[in-house]
């Protein structure tokens, strides 16, 4: 990626970041319109950048589509006032990511993503939201902490990493996977390209079987931990703090001098 494209990228990110700043929820002077405009401008610029870079417009359309959906949905996740909507937009992010993974020829992972996230994790999130969310629109949903600093820091990080992404070479052509593994698997037919699931399964059971077992153990521990956390008992001598009034503490400044 030559220098000018990198700078264009930074510019895109900057515009996008500014838009994000306006989109993050706040109580006073809510200028979502400005944010939307800036976001759209950033999206347009992003597409322009991509168009400049990509030569053949073949499978790129799907990439553009799903990447845009993913980004916009992610933005809505973090900027929407109501948590329920955030969760739903997150589902959209997951679906877009799954689509992108399919484009990257990781079908198994895409399916696993959809099943686990949209099927399990999100349900859990929604349950907790229903359980704990207060009625109406409480203030802590309506205002973001230090939006400016957050956007600046996020932008710097993203730009730093993304700016270096251009040094990556082009992907290699697909090769025979079966011949690549050092310990050939007996049950697999040799001499043909493996399906993704087969490849993942094969390598998971041979090379990374220890990691698999540990992952299972991790899940067990997490289950036990979740059960332990959800017990209602806690010692009565812990002091129960006074009811919290959000507007009373937050943003309060001490008297200067």
């Amino acid at each position: 990626m030559n220098v000018s494209t990198a700078h264009l990228l930074y510019l895109v990110f900057a515009i996008g970041g500014a838009g994000l700043y306006f989109l993050l929820p706040r109580i006073r002077h809510s200028r979502t319109a400005v944010g939307v405009v800036l976001g759209l401008a950033a999206a347009a610029a992003w597409i322009l950048v991509l168009a400049l870079r990509v030569v053949a417009p073949g499978g790129a359309a799907y990439f553009y589509l799903f990447s845009t959906i993913a980004v916009i949905a992610a933005v809505r996740v973090i900027t929407h006032v109501k948590p329920v909507y955030s969760a739903l937009y997150f589902v959209l992010v997951v679906l877009a990511t799954a689509a992108l993974l399919i484009l990257l020829r990781a079908e198994f992972l895409a399916a696993a993503l959809v099943i686990i996230y949209a099927g399990a994790v999100l349900i859990t999130y929604l349950f907790v939201i229903m359980f704990a969310q207060q009625a109406g629109s409480p203030v802590y949903d309506r205002s973001a902490r230090e939006p400016f600093l957050a956007v600046v820091v996020g932008f710097v990080l993203t730009a730093a990493v993304a700016g270096r992404a251009g040094d990556l070479p082009a992907p290699k052509r697909p090769t025979i996977v079966a011949a690549a593994s050092p310990a050939p698997i007996n049950s697999l037919p040799a001499g043909r390209l493996l399906e993704n699931t087969e490849a993942v399964g094969g390598i998971l059971m041979t090379r990374y079987v220890v990691a698999l077992e540990i992952a299972g153990l991790l899940l067990l521990i997490a289950m036990i931990g979740a059960i332990a956390l959800s017990r209602k008992r806690f010692p009565s001598e812990w002091p129960v703090p006074a009811p919290f009034s959000p507007l009373g503490q937050v943003g309060r400044e001490a008297e200067p001098f």
Partner: protein, 100 residues
């Protein structure tokens, strides 16, 4: 055909967005939701690099990341519930006891 670069950039963008959401939203649940968005970005990155090397190890890594994400979501939500019980609110600022 978009190369690995664009995917990596996209993954980074998602990661950055999740980051911004994590540090700026005050609702505990939306905070953790933002971490999930970060995970999405990381998964995309991992798989993109797998595509670069034309090897499935990156996908395996993504799978294990998925496991971790699920674990984290479960425990985090358990703790969120506990915290909610203690203060009656989902505000992250409720746990800031200092006067400013």
């Amino acid at each position: 055909m978009p190369g690995v670069t664009e995917y990596v950039i996209l993954g980074t963008i998602l990661f950055g967005l999740g980051l911004i959401g994590f540090v700026s939203r005050r609702n505990l649940i939306v905070m953790f939701l933002s971490t999930e968005v970060m995970f999405q970005g990381v998964v995309i990155n991992a798989v993109a690099f797998a595509r670069l090397h034309n090897h499935v190890e990156g996908q395996v890594f993504g799978l294990l990341l998925l496991v971790i994400a699920a674990v984290e979501a479960g425990l985090a939500l358990g703790m969120v519930v506990l915290l909610y019980r203690r203060r009656g609110t989902l505000d992250a600022e409720a746990w800031s006891l200092m006067q400013g």
